[in-house]
Symmetry: C2
Subunit: 231 residues, 2 copies
Amino acid sequence: MTTRQIPEASVARLPVYLRALVDMAERGTHTVSSDALAEAAGVNSAKIRKDLSYLGSYGTRGVGYDVEYLIHQISRELGLTQDWATCIVGVGNLGKALADYGGFAERGFRIAALLDVSLGKVGEMIAGMEVQHFDDVERIVKEEEISIAILAVPGAVAQDVTDRLITAGISSVLNFAPAVLTVPEGVSLRKVDLSIELQILSFYEQRKVAEESVRRGTARRRLDAVDPPLA
Amino acid sequence: MTTRQIPEASVARLPVYLRALVDMAERGTHTVSSDALAEAAGVNSAKIRKDLSYLGSYGTRGVGYDVEYLIHQISRELGLTQDWATCIVGVGNLGKALADYGGFAERGFRIAALLDVSLGKVGEMIAGMEVQHFDDVERIVKEEEISIAILAVPGAVAQDVTDRLITAGISSVLNFAPAVLTVPEGVSLRKVDLSIELQILSFYEQRKVAEESVRRGTARRRLDAVDPPLA
DNA sequence: TCCTGTGAATTCGTTCACAGCC
DNA sequence: GGCTGTGAACGAATTCACAGGA
């Protein structure tokens, strides 16, 4: 354990472990084995041990991990011991719901500003906070020391808005807009795309229907003439 | 091209390609090379070619892909040529926003029911649709032939609700609840977790701050005594 | 004996590089 | 000449399997 490069896939699982651990702590559990944590997090136990080993040797052989201690270490590693100021850009349906959603504050993500360009929305109060005009983004980002932006604008303007956010000093973007964004090196970007998720489910759902009809013997040759020759 | 097993990672990218292609079609583009599509989708062009080759040989060497034709093939592969009935379970802030969000219908995902257990919410009209009681889930799923459920309930009840949805005949779940769900084989599950995404950004954000201070020479030894020996 | 921590083996995904066709 | 389709090379992530400490 000397290198400090945690694989991305591993980083993405830490919050899941953390949540499971917090649940356990609340239920009064003090010690947990990789097997038990694996069960709670829905992954394989070897993966847990490997992931945790990237953080350091925090377990005890023959015993397991101390729940509180592990919570502390993972939180620290994830940067959750400090709090981060965020802004929500675009207060349409989704932006509004995100603003109202309590789940962010819970883990140290303070919503420091709501921004929009629509004059109808600017000035409106949402979740006890006034919507401000996006034109003031530079000032607001600086004043509030915002580093993370939550983007809930229409896809068509998402890239422009992002460029301006980055110019204003934002260095992480969580994108809910249905658009592929490009950001300069050094800026982190994650995407949540609701309709893409549904389309992925649709793919597997269709497979099931197809298999089902094969089993039932009711499978039909597809009408589409250009299907690849074999199944 | 005879096998029909498309890698999961590849399936997850098809909707992204599809969106880029639809944009292009709207702008009047008829033909696209893997390079151009790669650019629009934000991936490497070899990946595009490999992904598309899983669907069949739909390109023309020396020319590229026919945009309309590719849209058709990807849509078909993703099962978007039929439409899927979905239900939203839990109409709190997020559920409501999802119900109002137009982006689902756009690609053939019809919201056929809104369900909740709160008597205060049952009967309420959201996006022109009446909220029904979750107790009627079996009847509703059958009547509307719903196969996909969008779960926006509190984490604590998510597993119970899921179990009941599956008993009622649901075979795909898009989970927005902050909980690890277990589903039987044959049921598809995807998760969207807002606070996990922020935590991942936080991790990388923290790294940047740390590197920054190293560059500036203002790095400090961490106070935490159990840090691994080296950075 | 129990459970962690980790090399080794394996699987999965990406990228390279070029033959083959337009 | 240009671009697809795909084996082969590479790299990342997962899982195995077990040595070693409590």
